[in-house]
């Protein structure tokens, strides 16, 4: 397992280098050389230009320029944004990254879970009405024109029904005179929420792992889980954070739901196809023969092994779902990486745009790495051979 993780890590770092190189040369090849634009932009004062020229190594050859660029990238010196002058690109991206991370993670976990559960059900009930209905509805959402779907949902839930707040990250009125900055609260929210999530996972794992799923254990798990959540909420409200956290969460609901709606079908259909294969496996037949209850055969045998190819393609589709994330952030004015990328690109803020593009790649690579590890945990055959075992 350790060797597997290390070799994966090596691959990720290598890919990152190639990616950064590609981004660099791609932008070099653009008409109106990026460095020229840097120097020609009227927003950048004269004094800063000399500094920039030096920092970018413009007085040296192409190879040196490239090396300087790579060196700067790994030191976090991505230059200064034009549109947010004089904020360094690094600062802006560091502020935005956690927001993208939270949105991306929540939506993906949710959509994977929904897709997994539904795929499991429709594969088990293949050829019934629910199979056709879920497939057609799923494909429709999957291929829906995303920006428009976002607009329609905003229009329905925020504009017409007024159930959820319109766009953005926070409600400015509420935050006037707030004793915290939005970023501080968001930080608490991420760490606190992360801790609670890990706690819940550990509780459920301890009580319900494998064969322990008795009625008493289920009750105990739910009980201690609720206690944990209650304690966390109480702590937040004592610190006066609760109302602000609630505001942020409220603003998250619509983008997360939209992202889930548009992407669950991918997992669902894959899960269905993959499970149609596993239900024909001998061990599923054997599980039936063992007299195990139907749901256990479905979940622990057919679905549990069918999940593996689904995770693989989840990994493969990370990049395209990142694109979905960009659209989401733009449509919902969620100030994350994607929105920065889009706005800076339209505002010809090249340092910020390249920085955001490079960071998107870094983000993706990390997600890719995590998914690879997850895959090895799910399939004991992987770490053993280093390769997914051939089925059958």
């Amino acid at each position: 397992m350790r060797r597997y993780v290390l070799s994966r890590l090596g691959q990720v770092i290598l890919t990152l280098l190639i990616y950064i190189t590609l981004v660099y040369f791609l932008l070099q090849a653009m008409p109106g050389d990026i460095t020229q634009m840097y120097l020609a932009n009227p927003k950048v004062p004269q004094a800063a230009r000399e500094e920039l020229r030096k920092q970018l190594g413009l007085d040296q050859g192409v190879v040196m320029q490239y090396l300087t660029y790579v060196k700067n990238f790994f030191r976090g010196e991505l230059g200064v944004s034009f549109s947010h002058y004089p904020r360094p690109v690094w600062d802006i991206l560091m502020e935005r990254l956690p927001r993208t991370f939270v949105l991306f993670l929540t939506a993906h976990v949710l959509s994977f879970y929904v897709g997994y559960v539904m795929g499991r059900v429709i594969a088990w009930r293949r050829g019934r009405v629910v199979d056709y209905a879920a497939t057609v509805v799923g494909i429709t959402f999957w291929t829906a024109f995303y920006p428009l779907l976002a607009l329609v949902l905003i229009w329905i839930f925020a504009y017409t029904l007024r159930l959820l707040p319109l766009n953005q990250f926070i409600e400015p009125k509420l935050w006037q005179g707030a004793p915290f900055s939005a970023n501080t609260v968001f930080g608490y929210m991420v760490y606190g929420g992360g801790a609670v999530a890990i706690g819940l996972f550990l509780i459920f794992y301890a009580f319900l792992r494998g064969l322990k799923r008795t009625r008493r254990n289920v009750a105990l798990a739910w009980l201690s889980g609720s206690v944990l959540v209650a304690v966390a909420l109480l702590a937040a409200s004592r610190a006066g954070l609760l109302v602000y956290i609630w505001d942020i969460v409220n603003h998250m609901v619509l983008p997360v739901c939209t992202l889930t709606l548009i992407s669950f079908a991918g997992t669902m259909l894959l899960m269905r196809d993959s499970m149609l294969e596993t239900v024909q496996e001998d061990y599923v037949m054997a599980a039936h023969a063992k007299g195990l209850p139907d749901t256990i055969v479905r979940d622990r045998y057919a679905a549990r092994t069918a999940i593996l190819p689904t995770v693989t393609s989840l990994v493969l589709s990370l990049a395209s779902s990142m694109s979905g994330g960009l659209v989401t952030e733009t449509m919902f004015s969620w100030p994350g990486l994607g929105q920065v990328l889009f706005h800076s690109a339209l505002a010809n803020d090249y340092p910020l745009a390249t920085g955001a593009l490079a960071f998107t790649g870094v983000f993706l690579l990390i997600a890719h790495f995590v998914a690879d590890i997850l895959y090895a945990v799910l399939d004991p055959r992987i770490a053993y051979t280093g390769q997914p075992a051939a089925e059958g």
């Binding site: 653009m30 291929t143 694109s323």
Partner: protein, 293 residues
Amino acid sequence: MRGLSQNWAVFRESRIGMLGLIVILLFGVFGALWPIMINTVWDPLIYHPVVGFDPMLLHPSPPTKAHLLGTDPIGRDILAQLMFSTGREFLLGVLSALITVVIGTVIGTVAAYYGGFTDTFFMRVADIMMLFPFIPLLVVVGSMVRLTFFPFAIILGVLGGFGGITIILKAQALSVKVRPYIDAARVAGGSSFHIIRAHIIPNVLPLSFLYMMFNVTGAILSEATLSFFGVLNIDMSWGMMIHTAEAAGYLFDFGKYWWLWLPSGLAITLFCAAFYMVGRGLDEVVNPRLRKR
């Protein structure tokens, strides 16, 4: 390899696939109506999708007898735009998907046949391509050089061609390569080129064709998204129609100006869903394991 008619028989059993095929055919008819309409019924001055203008109405005008789906903020007929764009979407989707699939098939079969360095190289390239966030990249690139229709279709096709599809098609080609008749052909003195062309590619093609369907969906959606964000230089497309409405600020009052976004939005979704469904129908032809026993 089974014959065409047998494959058709299997495909016909897939309700999802047939549904998709019917929708595509309807779109085909709809798009084919465009040249007829503009040459006979419609006055090009009024109904031209890009430069037409109807001086008789205030714009955007809700549906009327003259403009069955209303007009856009600058006085162009929505129905005419929709019809005109249909053909272009077919062209864009099929062209870029074709490029993707041709590149993917060639690389996949060559990598599988020769193995070694060629194989490793292209597979690593595909790994990296799969990590590339294309839409953000194209947003950045598009904001620098406004891409026009054909360059955009070609870029989309080429970028896709080196990506994940090569891995899938290579796996398929590998499974063909180990079959005995390939050895037989080699022993019989067939050249590498001949074996790849005559034996491996025909066996990979059904899968290529299947992925072509999915790629059409991807290409159209990419075009619509980028058009919507205004980073493409395409005169008219379904995405552009929504972009026009959005840029003019009409999408804030959604319900009132429904004709500005609903027809084009529906067209994108239906069109893409149809290709996707045909892809799933083909999946049941290509992968017997998905079929009902």
